[in-house]
Symmetry: D4
Subunit: 155 residues, 8 copies
């Protein structure tokens, strides 16, 4: 009974420019945790172009973006709704409004949330952090949270 009798679906939202998803995947594998990871399409070019590549070109960049965002939302919304835990990482750069949008979306669905960000964002993210179960600094801490939640073990 110490280990929960389930596979945990964990959605990794947010920043796509560093290797944080790989580090979590690596840690989960190493620990042999019953976890399935998902996330948005992290190929930036494909993510930007998918709408016009599949459905046809657009003259205006606004509608090109709209077509792509509509398709990306099929994946992101579905996977967030199916998740047991949503992890959202905010990196050092860029607006990252997608990350905050996904955090709000997950919060309204009542999903457990872990927010991952450097200390410098503490104040700017205070409302987001207050909606979370935990605020972590490093991807490895997310692995430790999963190990503890699933097995009741502290490493």
């Amino acid at each position: 009974m110490n280990e929960t009798p389930k596979t945990w679906l964990v959605y990794l939202a947010g920043e796509i420019h560093s290797d944080w998803r790989d580090r979590i995947e690596h840690g989960v594998d190493e620990a042999g945790l019953p976890v399935e990871l998902s996330g948005p399409v992290t190929d930036h070019g494909a993510s930007d172009d998918c709408g016009v590549a599949i459905l046809g070109a657009e003259q205006s960049s606004f509608w090109k973006d709209r077509k792509g965002a509509g398709i990306n939302a099929i994946r992101t919304r579905t996977m967030i709704e199916e998740s047991d835990l949503v992890v959202v990482r905010f990196g050092e750069k860029y607006k990252q409004w997608n990350a905050a949008f996904d955090a709000g979306y997950a919060a309204a669905l009542g999903k457990p949330l872990v927010i991952l960000h450097p200390e410098e964002h503490d104040h700017a993210l205070k409302e987001v952090d207050a909606a979370a179960n935990a605020v972590a600094r490093e991807p490895e801490q997310v692995v430790e949270i999963l190990r503890y939640v699933i097995r009741g073990q502290l490493s």
Copy 2:
């Protein structure tokens, strides 16, 4: 993590007189996508007669239709509610109010929607299209959407 860790249930609603469902099924098979397709009963005669064939004849065509529609709804509502994605095709002919009803039903449930129709219906379908994640013209585009959503790949 590029491929979503799930089988996608896709409901194919609407027009039953062309081979569009077969073309999607073919494309999905060829690509080896983890997709399970469902849809309404497409045997037009059986769909019209099921009520009276199973539950007994009716004198009025109105109640004959009602009996059949009640049974068909067991299948259509259940499969729409279980779907991860609902595709609705509007063909060139007929009223196709069923198709629009199913689109509205799916939209109210918050299901991702892809609408498939020729350009000539653009204006008549504008409210339906606005509720959708994507508007496609050809069944093969639906396969491309699925490939991208599931694998993050553009072909």
Copy 3:
């Protein structure tokens, strides 16, 4: 206790080319029923143009339609969701996919539905009718339904 202690909000969806809404409004007024009616914007031109008129012109008619449909949906979805009863009229002409979409949307929300249409559409609307509490032919029958539901009186 014969009269229900509430004001009934009734949404009148569908066909906008005949005077059926006025006939219901007239009947409700005459009977002094505690009913508030609403519906979509019935000024066809305004409904088509609202997106570009408010948010700026579009080159493609597809995106012009999208802009308008987005704004119209603020009104139609909100009013349907707040309604106690949704009446959907299908007229003799046009595709009227909006009407069927609204019926499906209301059905998925569990709203009581009355469908109003001529007999000639019986077969084409069988699935829609099967989701309804009543199928009426004339607007005055909707008034009679309201009188009975609210006061328990048959005229």
Copy 4:
């Protein structure tokens, strides 16, 4: 029946450094629209300090922020959940992750959304915009949307 029989509750989320809320309030008043506006506490200092001012000081700024954010969420979540329409403004400066979080929160609740931002943010906000009923540039356009939605009138 042209005017919807209700008072519309509109939540104005996001940027708190320009006068955009006043401009919407002014426009709504001038038009005499049946609209009640709400929003977060826009006194920046009070919003930052409310937690420690009411519940007692904290040594760490992280927990000071947490205390304040918990109290602010009582207001923001409640008002968003009660709203008929949520407007989210992104300004030229700052991270504004709160704004995006509120947009995601509102989207997951199925609230109609209007996003208000300058063109320069189009690409960064594409996923947020795709969840919206309308993307506007100026506060006055929000007033025009409300006028049309409520009265069916284009000015």
Copy 5:
């Protein structure tokens, strides 16, 4: 704070052949309780005939009943869903499957339930009673429950 700051909507379902609704109404009036009562149409003839009277005659009694039941459900479902408390009375005679259906419907919606029936039905109603907040024998006990729930007073 002893009296709850609200008007309580109480739906009185079930048996329509005795004066139990009047006795509750009388007791509520006498006590001056902030209660609004509703219930099904209790004119048995009107309730049976409403479908064909409004929507046109039927040859089969089965479909005559269906037409009427569809219209009655607009009232009963709406009022049950809006209620704060549902009281269901089972009398000495008749099948009263409607009463049990309404009790099940209300239970699934999470409505507080009071079941009112003579002792002789105790065993037959055990599953229904187990879903209820209280089992009463006399209508006056329902008034006492309301007085206590609303004012905290035992008479």
Copy 6:
């Protein structure tokens, strides 16, 4: 795509004195349909005694019944909530308020319903029947409905 890609969970509620459940089970087996059947505990004695047998004797029959009903509800509510289809049979004898309660419970959850009863109960069950997708007379018709819904075949 003709066969739905799922196992259907079907709950058989109501009368426990005839062999109707066996007849459905037999028909489903013979047809090889992907259906899993469940229902209440049909051992009448065990169903009446379970409360006191497990939790200790009671002096009053009312509380004995309550203890048993509480435990039975764990099974019946859970299985109804998990079902894709609820079939409710009303037999010739007894009050069968449980059956009607379960039908109301399932209806409020939006479950597809098939009601099974002899013609003599038509009028008494009219409100229940109006909430159903189909009204059948014989268990074998339920098998035919399942065959059609799952495979699109009329036998």
Copy 7:
């Protein structure tokens, strides 16, 4: 727009032996806040006896308690479900499992929560506190929270 356009319904759960409810009521009145307070029946004797007083005596104290608890739940569940904010006070004495039950109930409904308790209970209440928007020590702090949430003012 600084003051929220609504009356706030605040439920005061928990300890009934001190004057904390009066102190909140006094503070709210003094500040003239648009707040309506409710809570359980605080007359301890009436709360214990209501079941048998209204519905008839019981021999066993267990079932006497059950009868009373069923009636009390009509009030407490209804008022919690209608509240905008739930305040739960834990006093120095007694088990107060009701208080913790109500906190869990409100948390699962997504209600904003304020927990009010002396420091000595911090560790025992850590899971409850973690579900709350704020942890306060004195009733006057609840008034200050309401003033800030409603008016954006710190006193």
Copy 8:
């Protein structure tokens, strides 16, 4: 059909100082019941320290507790929400507010509940017991309930 076609997920909440979970696990194993048990982390030290051990030390015990409680809630809420049955045990000692909070949380989600406690707590737990399907005294009775619910057998 006597045995329900499912694996039952049972969450064991509450007291962590006696062997009651082991006794249920033993009984379930012995009977070969299709049951999967889960519960909170029962290693008291780990449960208290998990927050600071994973996310970094805190000076104040209040925030140390908060960090831990946030992580524990990922497990407890998720497992309660996935459960088919929640069993809550109250022991002889300690405040056990967590247990009551979990019971309230489960009740609001509509989960079937079994409460397990010695007779001495009857009065203090009356509101909690009234929300439950059964009140048991010994863990073995929970096993008997499961055997009956799943197989329809009394031992």
